[in-house]
Chain length 243, copies 2
């Protein structure tokens, strides 16, 4: 927790918050903070600044901070990420990782090789998704909550929704990262992008065709096949050298 | 498992292997292979090629392959990775991830903010480390086992061992990735490198000083602080654009 994310509910006065449970415990046990310490805080979808520790109640496990919010959060990454639903145990880390990388728009899609049962995972419940995204924002000192959209119908999503998202943007790089791609992944695009990534085992040929018809170039990452959680930061770093 | 890693023990004839347990189960259940299918295989620290499925014993759960090894594995990444020991539950994924990225030499070091208890983790036992590295190699279609070295004494390791590793190489980029770094992470070095990364909460100032005196430039990754498992592929991609 490199930043403590605050919510409107935490405020007891315009510049004063009370924290309990997870965030308070973290300040007690990990930060081992003392009265008067300045902690890095930020308000959900808003500015970041400092929280001066005013009081610590070690019985009620409550912490009070005086908050000054002065700086903008880091700029968002101009990348829309589209991933085939990964297995639930990977999903938690993916949410944290994409939030920490500054990705703000994520579509989770179905595809031929996604196991149906994955769609029943508790990890897809909005409050569970939000919890992991908060951890990612706190890690990266960001405040802006990513949007996650679940899309269970592959073809209409790609041919209508994603295709018009691409058509409506000027100067946008639209790629599918897949071992069968002949072209290498572009570098330093530093402009709007849409990145599509398949499930374990990859998209099937007809899915790649659908994506190519929708204007998505299939690119490879070299000889090595990386897992989603390794591939996402790898590609983000390659596409955006200026972050 | 994009490649089935073979060991000398698997061979019953010069071109014939029998597989049981994890690898056989994977071929039964995930590959759903049939007699005659060609699977991608590779021999530990050697060539890669094909394994033609000759027989499947679904009672004994055994599989026999006819093996042809013809191609070199992907080139290794010319990067030595030095990381402060992460928490055990992260270690498993780190081992898989670094193996899949092609890193062949990893030092795991102690540092002020590493919890002592982490050094007793079962995950550090050689056979457990090796298991995770195998999964990473199988993922990335590689055969060359990385070397992992555990170094519990920070200062002598940095000032003697790491420092002479650096001094003995010509044209080597030596960096510590740390939020306090003033310079940005270099891009596209595409030559030998040593990358040092701290624990959660970062190296303390005196550790950074020791590293700087040993010739390691402290560099940052931008405003966002990334977890080790996200930061490693992010930096590898930035340093080596040609993989």
């Amino acid at each position: 927790m490199n930043l403590i994310l605050l919510f409107q509910d935490d405020f007891i006065k315009p510049d004063r918050v009370t924290l309990k449970e997870r965030r308070a415990e973290h300040i007690f046990k990990v930060h081992r903070a003392k009265i008067g310490d300045l902690l890095t805080v930020g308000i959900l979808n808003g500015k970041i600044g400092t929280g001066k520790l005013l009081s610590m109640d070690s019985v009620k496990r409550e912490i009070e901070l005086e908050v000054k919010l002065i700086n903008d959060p880091p700029p968002p990454l101009p990348l829309t990420l589209v991933i085939a639903l990964p297995r639930p145990k990977m999903l938690r880390r993916i949410f944290q990782s994409v939030a920490s990388l500054g990705i703000k728009k994520i579509f989770i899609i179905n595809s031929w090789r996604v196991e149906k049962a994955f769609w029943s995972s508790l990890m897809l419940e909005p409050k569970n998704i939000e919890h992991e995204l908060i951890l990612g924002l706190e890690q990266a000192k960001d405040t802006v909550m990513p949007e996650i959209h679940l899309k269970r119908l592959f073809t209409p999503f790609i041919t209508k929704e994603l295709s018009s998202l691409k058509a409506n943007a000027s100067n946008i790089t639209a790629i599918t990262a897949h071992p069968k791609g002949v072209l290498p992944c572009p570098q330093n695009i530093n402009q709007n992008g849409i990145l599509v990534m398949g499930p374990e085992g990859g998209f099937i040929d007809i899915e790649i065709d659908t994506l190519e018809k929708a204007g998505f170039t299939t690119v490879n990452l070299g000889q090595r096949i990386l897992r989603l959680e390794t591939a996402v930061p790898f590609i983000v770093s390659r596409l955006y050298s200026s972050i």
